[in-house]
């Protein structure tokens, strides 16, 4: 484990610095090209540039290449290819609005390198009860995992700083869990995700200077899903991601079909005169995590963001408990 300390430290520093240094020039570049959207939760007409995906994916690629130089794991190659493919899919969606099925289908294809490089174990590990061998079913799980995680993070990217901040909490929780289950190499491989998210949060937090866009959100989600598979911690990863999973579940169970957010006509949230967020009574609007948080009364954007972070910390603690339970058998 001590041998892994140097690659871990170097990759974390590289991941953080690459995103921290490349995001400001990316913001200037996007401003020059007028690639900005209105921040809907601000009183004034504030335009925020997007997408931040290029700096996020650059941080991930460079730091994982550094790790590959030390560890030479097939899993790292699979992770880099799948994550880069997810970025490319998101970037196309950022530039040109695609249909509701576009992202899930292509993200499922993006999972192919994990299968092709054999970067997975067919045993699905459950806490308290042990493993179950499901060779054919597990392939379906791999194909589903990347689109689900990608779109889950994308669907929670609705307020300043929430997607990147939530990812910091979820990914560091997952890294702790990987250490607990003694999967040290993949724990090190997962560290750059937290540091990339942390560096991006600096520019994404309220008031945002840049939005991650679909390319950024899908990159983060796909890498998270990839780590869950190559680390054999699918259940733990799902637990750490529960607030975002709830958001997707509530959305899908109220809309009852796979659609893009922009295709929904009903508004789940509106603004008070002092620009606080308030849940609407619109029955055609989807039920979302933010709408449920606001059901108790209006809150500022910052308050809603921190409530989501607290839920993230709670589910992170549940994930860590789950990781400890992996070593216990009934």
């Amino acid at each position: 484990m001590i041998d892994l300390a140097l690659p871990a430290a170097v990759s974390c520093i590289v991941a953080f610095i690459v995103v921290y240094v490349t995001t400001p020039p990316l913001i200037k570049f996007l401003e020059k090209r007028n690639m900005a959207v209105k921040d809907m939760n601000k009183k004034e007409d504030i335009m925020v540039v997007r997408p931040g995906g290029p700096s996020i994916v650059l941080g991930i690629i460079v730091s994982e290449i550094v790790l590959y130089a030390f560890l030479q794991l097939n899993e790292i190659i699979a992770l880099i290819i799948t994550t880069t493919a997810a970025f490319a899919i998101g970037y196309v969606d950022d530039r040109k609005v695609m249909g509701g099925w576009f992202k899930p289908v292509l993200l499922a294809i993006a999972a192919a390198p994990i299968i092709a490089l054999g970067a997975y174990d067919t045993d699905l590990a459950f806490p308290l009860f042990g493993d179950v061998q499901i060779p054919a079913l597990y392939l379906a799980l791999i194909i589903l995992m990347i689109p689900i995680m990608g779109n889950t993070i994308n669907s929670i990217d609705v307020l300043n700083g929430v997607a990147s901040g939530f990812m910091v909490i979820a990914s560091f929780s997952l890294t702790i869990c990987l250490f607990i289950v003694q999967n040290y190499e993949i724990a090190i491989v997962s560290l750059p995700l937290g540091f990339v998210s942390l560096a991006f949060y600096k520019y994404h937090k309220i008031p945002s200077k840049i939005f991650p866009g679909d390319s950024g959100a899908l990159t983060l989600g796909a890498m998270y899903g990839c780590i869950a598979i190559i680390g054999g911690v699918e259940i733990i990863a799902a637990v750490a991601m529960l607030p975002a999973v709830i958001n997707s579940f509530l959305f899908l169970s109220s809309v009852k079909r796979i659609v893009e957010h922009r295709q929904i006509k009903g508004k789940p949230v509106e603004h008070t005169e002092d620009m606080k967020l308030k849940a609407t009574d619109d029955k055609t609007a989807p039920v979302t995590l933010v709408r449920l948080i606001l059901a108790g009364g209006p809150l500022s954007e910052k308050q809603v963001g921190f409530t989501i972070f607290k839920l993230g910390i709670f589910s992170g603690i549940l994930a860590i408990i789950t990781a400890f339970m992996m070593g216990v058998r009934l």
Binding site: A140, I246, F314, L330
Partner: protein, 76 residues
């Protein structure tokens, strides 16, 4: 409402643990013999069908739980 959200998260976690137990005890031991090289394939199909049924049940239970928790919260 926030207490309800934490309750919902905790409920989901419990459902995952219980669901895991059912999967391991129900799906794990399934083996098929008598079909030669197709044994693993038929066993996989049976496991897939049971898994899909379990997921559907899981979603239905979750929906009921969501309605129960949040309607109770809104009434209070």
């Amino acid at each position: 409402m926030k207490a309800g959200l934490y309750g919902f998260l905790f409920g989901m976690w419990i459902l995952i643990i219980i669901g895991g137990g059912i999967v391991v005890t129900l799906l794990g031991p399934i083996t098929i013999t008598g079909f030669g090289e197709m044994n693993w394939f038929i066993a996989s199909v049976i496991k897939a069908v049971i898994a899909i049924i379990l997921v559907v049940i899981w979603i239905l239970v979750l929906s009921k739980m969501k309605n129960w928790i949040f309607k109770k919260e809104i009434k209070s």
